[in-house]
Amino acid sequence: MGGDSWLVRAAIRAAGYEQGKAVLRDVAIEVGRGERVGLLGPDGAGKSTVMKGLLGQLPYWDADVDWRGAADGTDATSGGGAMNRRLAYIPERPILYERFTLWEHLQLAAAVCGISEKRLAERAEGLLARFRLSHVKDDYPIKFSKGMQQKTMLVAAFLLEPSVYLVDEPFIGLDPAAVMELLEALDEERARGAGVLLTTHVLDSAERLCDRFVLVHEGGVAASGTVADIRAVAGMPDGTPLFDCFHQLTRAAPAEGP
């Protein structure tokens, strides 16, 4: 990805959970307008560490992260990386507050992110209908099933209409209809110009859905680029599924990082 269409660019020199102890080194990620980037890797490779770092949750984070609009002040907020009009995070495990109804979760998101009540009503009603949650909007999401809780997080994220979505394992806990709704909603957001960075273990889906990939392995980047680039790095012929390339790279290749 190059040119001027980037939304976020992160050059991570080192990151980890303790000062000075890096579990991630020399990882570069860029998400462009309308682009879906897959952040792939085996368990413990550092995918979630990247996500947490971008969200500003890591104690050790030596990186340059540029957000489009942040420098010229057109889209700048107080920073810190948590959810705002620039970035929405959909976690793997739903994060909910036990004393709020579904509607109140959305009200909080709207109020913190500067969305008017009129806009909240317009946007949220459509999203609730899309994810088939309208009938439970005055119920406690903490009492929902896992899939419905995940949908609550999706609605809260889509409500913000951010520039970039960080989506952690989006297919876990959702029924097939909800996965379709999620993908459609993400496509609409991409058409608006938003970018998506998603982590997943479902490589078949990732291959179909993502434009580019960053394959993280042992705390560094094993390969990145389009499927063709990944095949080339893995030394696999044309038509090889991403799954086989992934297997080849994570089995044989050490990380490129130091």
């Binding site: 907020t77 994060i95 004393r99 909080l108 109020a111 913190v112």
Partner: protein
């Protein structure tokens, strides 16, 4: 060399439901004691708990040696009601853990062994609690009622057996109903138990002959055996057992770990019981007001917080009413400052909840919302205390002092607003200092 896990660890390597039960029971109490020690460290124990126990023990001995007149005037139902309150807090304990679902629950021998151990533990716990309460209360009551040691023992035993029956009935009710129906069912059953226990026990202690008392205790024993036998042979109780264990741990450590995830309890119903409708509470609809309103909704749905708030309001009202007017006015300022600090703590804790922490709060928005949120509870309570002060002044001096009922709240409102504003500035300065110090430390 000691095996890992200390005293509990020594039981490891030996199989059997009873041993596993003992290990879990020991682990539960060790975990609870460790949680209590977060608050009750040696300084608190040395300077507060030990002197408190010493003073309370001395007062108790003094009451025994020189019983005051009011003890003789206490109705004989008093110790019976206290025993009833203690019995109705109990629940059936099995020390089930979620991991049991993998293997242990597949074995009928282990399930029935653990359940039997749980039933025995629950009965022993009821006996211990009732004996301790009766042992403290009845020597005092004996002066007034003339109850013998045997009568006291019979009352404590009956309370323990009744408590055991209650745990099994509660267990059945909680398995049968969910949400609001469960809460209503447990409240109804509690009322029914009190209504059945208090008059019958009072009659037994006052009028019934020995034969009737023995028959009543025998009937309770039979009820215990029958219900325990039935419970022992039930299937599909695992989910309820896990829930009961979580609640028991929450009851045990909730007062220490109220800020943590461990002591949190999900709401009972599917929908809120307080402020069910999303109708706006405030006229102003700017962002800080909307956030303050959401905080207020959350606080009013926390039964524990509401109870504390009402207790503080009642104590404050009593302090203002019982003091001379000039001292009441000083107490009003102190109470409002205390309330403001407490509300500020509630906001800070709420704002660090994981869901709230997901979002990027602008500093200005956070400060404005916090100030409005504090005022939503500070003003009504502070103004109510003002009105109480005014009523007290009118009550004491009459005539021209009665308008103080209205004038004091009218004068109190700007004072409260000013105090709240000053608190915002003070907390902001403290936050800035803390941020600078952290930044310096990071460098």
């Amino acid at each position: 060399m000691n095996p890992a896990g200390g005293r509990i660890g020594r039981l490891r390597g030996k199989s059997g439901p009873a041993r596993l039960f003992c290990m879990r029971c020991g682990a539960f109490w060790l975990k609870s004691i460790r949680a209590w020690r977060l608050t009750l460290d040696w300084t608190v124990v040395l300077y507060l708990v030990v002197p408190g126990l010493w003073v309370a023990g001395g007062m108790y001995l003094d009451l025994l040696r020189h019983p005051p007149d009011w003890i003789a005037r206490l109705p004989i139902q008093t110790p019976i009601v206290v025993l009833a309150i203690l019995m109705l807090r109990a629940r059936l304990r099995t020390f089930a853990e979620s991991g049991d679902g993998l293997f242990l629950r597949a074995s009928g021998r282990w399930v029935s062994g653990m359940t039997t151990a749980g039933l025995v533990y629950t009965l022993v716990a009821r006996l211990a609690v009732s004996a301790a309460a009766a042992g403290l209360m009845l020597p005092l009551m004996a002066h007034a009622t003339g109850w013998s040691f045997a009568a006291g023992t019979a009352l404590a035993s009956a309370a323990a057996l009744m408590g055991f029956v209650w745990t099994l009935v509660r267990d059945a009710a909680e398995r049968r109903w969910q949400g609001a129906r469960r809460v209503l069912a447990v409240i109804g059953l509690r009322a029914a138990f009190i209504a059945a226990w208090v008059p019958v026990a009072a009659w037994g202690m006052r009028d019934a002959g020995q034969a009737a008392a023995v028959a009543a205790v025998a009937a309770l024993v039979l009820a215990c055996i029958g219900l325990a036998w039935r419970r022992l042979h039930l299937c599909g109780t695992f989910a309820q057992e896990l829930e009961a264990e979580n609640s028991a741990y929450g009851d045990n450590v909730g007062w220490v770990l109220m800020d943590t995830e461990q002591a949190k309890r999900p709401p009972a119903g599917r929908r809120p019981w307080v402020l069910r409708k999303p109708r706006p509470l405030l006229k102003r609809r700017d962002e800080p007001s909307r956030l303050a309103e959401l905080w207020l909704r959350a606080m009013l749905r926390e039964a524990g917080q509401v109870r504390l708030l009402l207790q503080l309001f009642s104590l404050g009202s009593a302090a203002i009413w019982l003091s001379p007017v000039w001292l009441g006015a000083i107490a009003w300022i102190g109470l409002c400052a205390l309330l403001l600090l407490w509300l500020n703590g509630l906001w800070s804790r709420w704002q660090t909840e994981r869901y709230m922490a997901l979002y990027d709060w602008r500093e200005e928005l956070r400060t404005d919302a916090q100030e409005i949120a504090r005022s939503l509870l500070l003003c009504p309570i502070g103004l109510a205390w003002c009105a109480i002060l005014g009523i007290h002044a009118g009550w004491l001096y009459g005539g021209l002092w009665w308008p103080a009922v209205l004038l004091l709240p009218a004068a109190g409102y700007p004072v409260l607003a000013r105090i709240n504003r000053a608190a915002t500035v003070m907390f902001g300065a403290r936050r800035d200092r803390s941020a600078k110090s952290e930044a310096k430390h990071a460098e």
